[in-house]
């Protein structure tokens, strides 16, 4: 007989975890007094979100160091061997702005769909205990495949970036053409690599949905990946802003 004790809350309130020990987290025993054998998914979600925030700090440091290198290099004079004088040799890159703006729109759309996917699975996870009550039906789950849409849009963004690199090459800006072009390729490629990682995790999330993992566990994966995805979008805005306004 399934016992319906307390529902999994959708919006998990942030308690005073850690810090000065106001409410030290009690592991084991379940935070909300549910029945035996149920992992505390709420606590697990908070923990994985915390892990993500910490991990994103290290990603931020990578881009902080690249930004610092970019800004300093831009202002650094080099020796012109013909005139024996120090001149600034920074050549602003002729960016394919239209294409990059399209890519930005695609990534924004993918962030929106990622958020919708996140809320969708949060609702599904909240209602999961209800579904297990015999005789209760919530109707067919005809949810829009937001997760798959995110993957498609993310893939479209990466394709667009690939096209942007080709466009740059057509305009004569290769990886080693100038310091500015090196940085443009480097920053966008580093971002693309991280975004690819996000896509792989989303594919993993889609795959496990077919493997009948509990919806609460899948929710954690989708939730954290969606937050990661939003970070990737904001990071892209920053990179785009950097190479355009500080060119």
């Amino acid at each position: 007989m399934a016992t319906f004790s307390s529902p999994v809350s959708i919006d998990v309130p942030s308690t005073g975890q850690g810090g000065g020990g106001v409410r030290p987290p009690a592991y084991g025993g379940g935070g909300d007094g549910r029945g035996d054998g149920f992992p505390d998914y709420g606590q697990r979600l908070r923990r994985v979100r915390l892990g993500l925030a910490i991990g994103l700090t290290s990603v931020t440091m990578i881009f902080v160091s690249l930004t610092s290198a970019y800004v300093v290099r831009r202002g650094l004079p080099t020796l012109d061997e013909r005139t024996n004088a120090y001149v600034r040799d920074w050549i602003p890159v002729d960016l394919p702005i239209a294409l990059l703006l399209v890519n930005t729109a695609l990534l924004l759309a993918s962030s929106v769909t990622a958020e919708l996917a996140r809320r969708q699975i949060t609702r599904q996870a909240a209602l999961a205990p209800v579904r297990s009550i015999p005789g209760v039906s919530l109707g067919e789950d005809k949810g829009f495949p937001w997760l798959a849409t995110t993957v498609v849009l993310g893939g479209a963004f990466l394709t667009g970036q690939w096209m942007a690199w080709h466009e740059l090459a057509d305009r004569g800006f290769y990886m080693a053409t100038s310091a500015s072009s090196s940085f443009v390729y480097l920053l966008t490629a580093t971002h693309a690599v991280h975004l690819m990682g996000g896509i792989l995790v989303l594919l993993y999330a889609a795959a496990v949905s077919l493997l009948n993992r509990p919806v609460e566990a899948r929710r954690i994966v989708v939730d954290v990946t969606a937050w990661y995805w939003h970070f990737m979008f904001l990071l892209w805005l920053y990179i785009f802003g950097l190479v355009w306004f500080v060119r």
């Binding site: 020990g21 592991y27 025993g29 505390d40 290290s58 290099r73 090196s182």
Partner: protein, 576 residues
Amino acid sequence: MATTATIHSHAPQGFIRKYIFSLDHKVIGLQYYFLALVAVFVGMFLSLLMRIHMVWPTAVLPLVGEIKPETYLSLLTMHGTIMVFFVLTTAPQGGFGNYFLPIQIGAPDMAFPVLNMLSFWTTFVAFVVILAAFFVTGGAPLHGWTGYAPLSALTNSGPGEQLGADLWITSIAIFCIASLMGALNFITTTLDLRAKGMTMMRMPLTVWAWFITAILGLLAFGVLLSAGILLLLDRNLGTSFYVPLVVVNGQVMGHKGGSPLLWQHLFWFFGHPEVYIAILPGMGVASQLLSTFSRKPIFGYKAMVYAIMAIGFLGFMVWGHHMFMSGMSPYTAFAFSLMTMAIGVPSAIKTFNWLGTIHGGRVRFQTPMLYAIGFVSLFVSGGLSGPFLAQPVLDIPLHDTAFVVGHFHLIMGVAAIFGMFAGTYYWFPKMFGRMMNETWGRVHFFITLVGTYSIFMPMHYLGMAGQPRRYSQFTELAYLQQLMPLNRFITYAAIVTISAQVIFVINLFWSMFKGPKASDNPWESTTLEWTTATPPPHDNFGGRTPVVNHGPYEYSVPGAPRDYVMQTDPATVASH
């Protein structure tokens, strides 16, 4: 009935899941430890070859033959890289930290066990890649562990600078990723998995040290990763991040406009926090052991915590003191110099608090305590030459001399290692259920203490006398010939000291199988790992959840029945 937020609660079956791809932080900790043990012997072998070559340059050695000058440079590059990354960053944090951080905070495992397993195996891959550099065409790189551009950024700058250097950079990049994953795990675990009653200010100082070290790693390794990627691009894709217009062997290279200083800044922005990553866990272990074996609470627990934080924070602001000779403005040098001297303050606070802990205690001079005291001694000896180097004016004659080599070896190569030895002798009973041999432990301690002082103290004198560093031989330099007897003394001391480490290894492995059985708490220590069985069960506490009622170092509490109060003892037991 485990209703936990951790993924697994059942002990794994099968050899592969139990010992190879284990998710158990205790197994992973031992994997890191044994990786570091292999690495340290590789590193010591390299240093032995270096020392022998320095005083007998024409010697033909077994296995390696005659060492050419460029080979010497490769030896010192790989010695530094392997020791700094695969010993000093691996064993104290990945080894002991992995094993004992969850237990000391009352958790059943790390926050992310799968990530933990991946961290170790990624580190292992990085180790294999760097060892591979020895065996490829051209051999290992010769640009020093610091990898300065443009030497490291050009593929034709020397033997070993082709595939060997690419493997070196790749290995370091892989290591960065492994360290970042580990740091994430440590920080999340410390913040989120503490048992009931284990507030931040009740955590043992070992946990504080691992926690702050992880934060340092989180912020620093990303910068090294960036630096390495830029270097790979310069070498292989013709970019000019680090390489200005250069001519090599009459050939104009295609680079233009890059800055070797960029590499230095990026590298040392990582490199200085890295040395604090190497020493902080040892400080935590020293605090823990000095308190335990003096039967006294640590002197000034709060100050110790704030000092660790201050050292970590200030450690990010001093990287320029490695670059005083790079042509920086004297005003910049002054700023870095001031910050470097500022770090001396929390370090001194810690040192005096260690002394204050021992003072007036009923000291038990067992081997772990000897190493903890040795740590304090070497931290002072190695640390005191730091402020000398922190003066730009003094750094001008001392930079790139044996003085610097003596400084960082005393503090990283000896003090940090003593921290590891201390941790080994201390935690061995808990990990393996047996005691290490006390007599041979003391023999190992005294030979190592006297030996390492003999090796590295004279280097300060040699440096002041003008002996440069990274020179493969001094036979061409007349002014250094009178220093050769001292160099030979150092080499003899190195041979003896390295040989003595065999005693430790034999003690370690013999005791694992044949040592006297240990009780659950042979040192009568107070922290949580000593409350559980020996070795700890899979979930660390045998299905029970520890509840913490006391601080970590409640020794000799007036009114208490014993001279130590375990952290899980009932709250009614008298506490400070």
